[in-house]
């Protein structure tokens, strides 16, 4: 269990501190101004983009028992992220995490990730989770944990929110995310069993995609996404 905790730790070198999960673009436009706004945003992200990355991580966790061909699964993640800016952000964080994971968990499945130029973050996370002893449900939960934690931390830094209150609402979001993780893992397991990445879930949130594109075109940003 302890190796898995290392993958959940925000101190893990994985480039996450440079990404806000869409929060900076919302804060800049005064669409997120308070702890309550943040809670609403996170609840929505968990059910949409969160469900997609959770399923991708769970699928990777299952696939990582062998030496998979990651390319079709990587393409499936790309197909579920309409914003080019968010695809770039996902691949940048995947590459960053893979630097750490390739040293810490050098399994054949992790080595196979390096055959692709820059793999999406949830696939790296899922493969590492498998090496750390996780089951697909735990890998899905791990992906949601990082999605929620990264956005919440960014909101504290950008708005000066009370970190204790943010933690409290994050717990509420996390409880609501648990069934999403379980559901995403079930879908992912079925997709892997069928050998068909098309079966992965496809929810999205258009505002997040549009704002990500505007964010990338903005001059003065603190976070890469």
């Amino acid at each position: 269990m302890l190796p898995l905790f290392l993958l959940a730790d925000s101190r893990l070198p994985s480039g996450g501190h440079g990404h806000s999960g869409g929060v900076e673009a919302l804060v800049d436009r005064r669409l997120v101004r308070s702890v309550d706004d943040l809670a609403l945003f996170l609840a929505g992200r968990v059910r949409t983009g969160g469900r997609v990355v959770a399923a991708a991580a769970a699928a990777a966790c299952t696939l990582a028992s062998g030496t998979p061909d990651w390319a079709p699964w990587d393409a499936a993640v790309s197909a579920r992220i309409p914003s080019a800016a968010l695809r770039t952000a996902s691949r940048a964080q995947g590459a960053a995490l893979l630097r750490t994971v390739a040293l810490a968990f050098p399994t054949p499945a992790v080595a196979a990730l390096r055959a692709l130029p820059r793999v999406h973050h949830p696939l790296v996370l899922g493969a590492a989770a498998a090496a750390a002893g996780a089951d697909p449900g735990q890998a899905a939960a791990l992906a949601l944990h990082h999605l929620v934690g990264g956005a919440a931390t960014a909101a504290v830094r950008l708005l000066g929110l009370d970190p204790l209150r943010v933690t409290a609402v994050t717990v509420g979001v996390a409880r609501a995310a648990d069934p999403v993780a379980a559901d995403a893992a079930a879908l992912a397991t079925a997709a892997v069993a069928a050998g068909d990445p098309v079966l992965l879930p496809t929810e999205g949130s258009p505002l997040t995609d549009v704002l990500a594109e505007l964010h990338r075109a903005s001059e003065a940003t603190l976070f890469a996404s």
């Binding site: 893990l12 070198p13 501190h17 440079g18 940048a92 995490l97 940003t221 976070f223």
Partner: protein, 224 residues
């Protein structure tokens, strides 16, 4: 000067590399220090002085990411494709110390594209506790300035004490701010044991000659 002329001048400067090539052996130097000390001015000065001697690339981590890169471009010291800006999410020290992955990515990309002799990694403006991880860089320069007060070296911190080179910039301002340069030099030397300290005014010495020599010696040593 017209932009195209400037770019061809810069390219010509890069084509002229009198030192023997050493593929894949770029020396990586981190430049850190508090806000306003002169990190970007030092990077610009080193680029101007060294670009005729060696192949260079720069990674900036400034809080408003594109500002430093734009500064370097405006002053025509490096072409755009040799500059990468890394965003640090309000945590400049994290990006150079605890989680260096984004900076490693930027450095590796520049190395793959240009195979430079020297990569300068400029930290975002931080405070006296900032320090680079040696997983990211080979040597680090810490830049403080006289205008911050002559007690700065005495306050210590990992940058002042353990950096490979301490630069105390803006010596020209000492009379204006009532700072005693001898106090700064003595305090720095006492804390730093045998590690070098240089007192400079980048405004008065825009070629940063002594620092450029220190950097050149590192690049030569890597090649020998």
């Amino acid at each position: 000067m017209h932009r195209d002329d400037l770019m061809s001048e810069i390219q010509a400067a890069h084509a002229h590399t009198p030192l023997p090539a050493a593929p894949g052996r770029a020396v990586r130097i981190g430049i850190g220090g508090p806000v306003g000390g002169g990190k970007t001015a030092l990077v610009a000065a080193l680029c101007r002085t060294l670009r005729g001697r060696m192949s260079l690339a720069v990674v900036t981590n400034d809080i408003y990411t594109t500002e430093d890169a734009d500064f370097l471009r405006r002053h025509g010291v490096l072409p755009d494709e040799r500059i990468r800006a890394v965003q640090t999410g309000c945590c400049p020290h994290t990006a150079i110390r605890d989680d260096i992955t984004a900076n490693l990515d930027a450095v590796d990309e520049l190395v793959a594209l240009h195979d430079p002799d020297l990569v300068l990694v400029e930290s975002g403006g931080d405070n006296l506790t900032a320090t680079f991880s040696y997983g990211l860089i080979d040597k680090q320069i810490f830049v403080v300035d006289v205008a911050g007060g002559d007690k700065v070296p005495r306050k210590g911190g990992p940058g002042v004490i353990r950096s490979d080179l301490l630069v105390i910039n803006k010596t020209d301002l000492a009379p204006m701010v009532g700072a005693d340069l001898d106090v700064m030099r003595t305090d720095a030397e006492r804390l730093r044991e045998d590690r070098p300290t240089m007192l400079v005014s980048l405004r008065e010495q825009p070629d940063a000659a002594p620092i450029a020599e220190w950097v050149t010696a590192l690049v030569r040593a890597r090649r020998s």
